[in-house]
């Protein structure tokens, strides 16, 4: 590992000023991904700006019913928070399905959103990878691609985004709050991560040097039945092969609100907008669910090793929709 400078930031302004957009500066959250990648030589920062003790570790409710999650709230505390468990169970469940107790105690909201792909070629300096080294090629495309994308991939990159939390945030229509040298801005969580296209080196729409300060959950999804389902190679402590986050509101035997996001299938959490559109106003029947999900997944283009992901994703999505259609609305307080 290359030697680096370490700066502890005491305020958001201090953090962004210390970063100053320098190419080799990195913010440090819990370190569970960044330190790992530094050991592998994938990340080689000259300066680390520790933002983990910034005063952004609260979960607060606004008068309009929306809830703001600070960027440095630890994943375990977020999953356990009564407001999240009660009103946004999909988020609590997604967090608890990821990593381990030890990792969730360290991992932060901001760092979780910005964790990098687990593509083994990305992590191996001896292999070609357009994400790590633009123009070097993609090892996975013609290599072992079982864990890779089936939707939205490009000739340059077939990686998936590994975060479970981000899938739930996409389904909740959350907003990501950013602070850069030019001031604050917000981005919808569902558009925060990018598709690879011809710039797989860019995971997200974040500008270099911008700090994530928090995430806002709108009140519109609060208290609606919601849940997360994840399939992995072992019962616990493994990344998703496929996962799905669903928010479903049924009134007078019609679907009023539905939001579906898939994990493990693409370079970003995959909002199933076509399936959602097909379902609104329909009766929540098994056939309607199957038709809608098939519409969405019909654009899948599996790679050599991962065609199994398409029926897997369809089964968990339909099953979860059925389950939620039968569930009573969760309490709103």
């Amino acid at each position: 590992m290359k030697p680096f400078r370490y700066v502890r930031a005491h305020s958001v302004e201090e953090a962004t000023a210390a970063h100053a957009g320098r190419a080799a500066s990195r913010y440090l959250g819990g370190g569970t991904n960044l330190v790992d990648l530094m050991k592998l030589g994938v990340e080689r920062p000259e300066t680390l700006i520790d933002v983990s003790r910034l005063d952004l570790d609260g979960v607060e409710e606004f008068s309009d019913g929306s809830v703001r999650l600070g960027a440095t709230v630890r994943n375990s505390d977020l999953a356990a928070h009564p407001l999240i468990r009660g009103r946004y169970p999909v988020l609590s469940q997604a967090l608890l399905s990821g990593a381990s107790g030890q990792l969730r105690n360290a991992a932060t909201t901001g760092g979780n959103l910005l964790q990098r792909t687990r593509c083994p070629y990305f992590q191996d300096l001896g292999k070609p990878c357009n994400k790590r080294e633009p123009g070097s090629g993609c090892g996975a495309r013609d290599g072992v691609s079982r864990d890779h994308a089936v939707l939205g991939h490009s000739a340059q990159c077939v990686a998936t985004h590994p975060s479970d939390m981000a899938v739930a945030l996409a389904a909740l229509d959350a907003q990501v709050e950013l602070r850069g040298p030019q001031g604050p801005r917000t981005l919808p969580a569902a558009e925060f991560h990018r598709l690879p296209g011809d710039r797989p080196d860019r995971d997200t729409e974040l500008d270099h040097g911008e700090l994530i300060t928090g995430v806002v959950l709108p009140s519109s999804a609060a208290g609606l039945p919601s849940a997360y389902r994840k399939v992995r190679d072992r019962a616990s402590y493994a990344f998703a092969l496929a996962s799905v986050a669903v928010v479903l509101g049924v009134e007078d035997t019609r679907v009023r609100t539905v939001r579906i996001a898939f994990g493990g299938l693409a370079h970003r959490p995959w909002r199933a907008l076509r399936a959602e559109e097909a379902l609104v106003g329909q009766e929540p029947t098994d056939e309607a669910f199957l038709r809608a999900i098939d519409t969405e997944l019909s654009e899948a283009e599996p790679l050599r090793d991962n065609a199994f992901k398409v029926p897997l994703a369809r089964n968990i999505a339909c099953d979860l929709l059925r389950h939620l259609a039968a569930a009573p609305a969760a309490p709103t307080s």
Binding site: M1, F4, V35, M38, K39, L48, A79, G101
Partner: protein, 202 residues
Amino acid sequence: MGTDVFHSEVPMTVNGSGHSPVVDHRSTLLDVLREQMDLTGAKKGCDHGQCGACTVLVDGRRVNSCLVLAVSLEGCAITTVEGLRDADGEGLHPLQRAFIERDAFQCGYCTPGQLCSAVGALAEAEAGHPSHVTGPDTAADAPVRLTKEEIRERLSGNLCRCGAYPHIVEAVEDVTRAEPVGQDRSGQDADGTHGTQDEVDA
């Protein structure tokens, strides 16, 4: 070793006593404990957060010390397996005794991490933290009763290459049963979904 732009002095408490090691910014807590403080209980299994052998408690919370930069720990209180004690501060921690009674290890390499992880997991359950297998209707502010299924899930971040899992789960279960962890004051299940009488008596 002095401080410069790549090295810092980091005041912290380790197993109850104050230390101010000068650390290379690249050093993880695991390396500082093992190489600079002669505390070799925490083990380096994978060095990438994948095995849990390096688990220690930082301010009472379990973390993988292989992924924590020591320089980030100014003012923190670290507890390693060497610092675990019973309530009187003298003998072995109840979990350590239960591991011995249940023969919850073979080679012992994962054991310090299992122990620190279990200490952290019991505190989390006591504070009402849910896990992936906790029922959605479980009360948010009551301690969670730790069934075998709960223990397995909560300790899934600790691998054991010897496969001592069944005895590890039993050892942790012994301790949860000895203490009022996971039961409300009336002795009733907080949630009604977990902890049948069978599990309690098993």
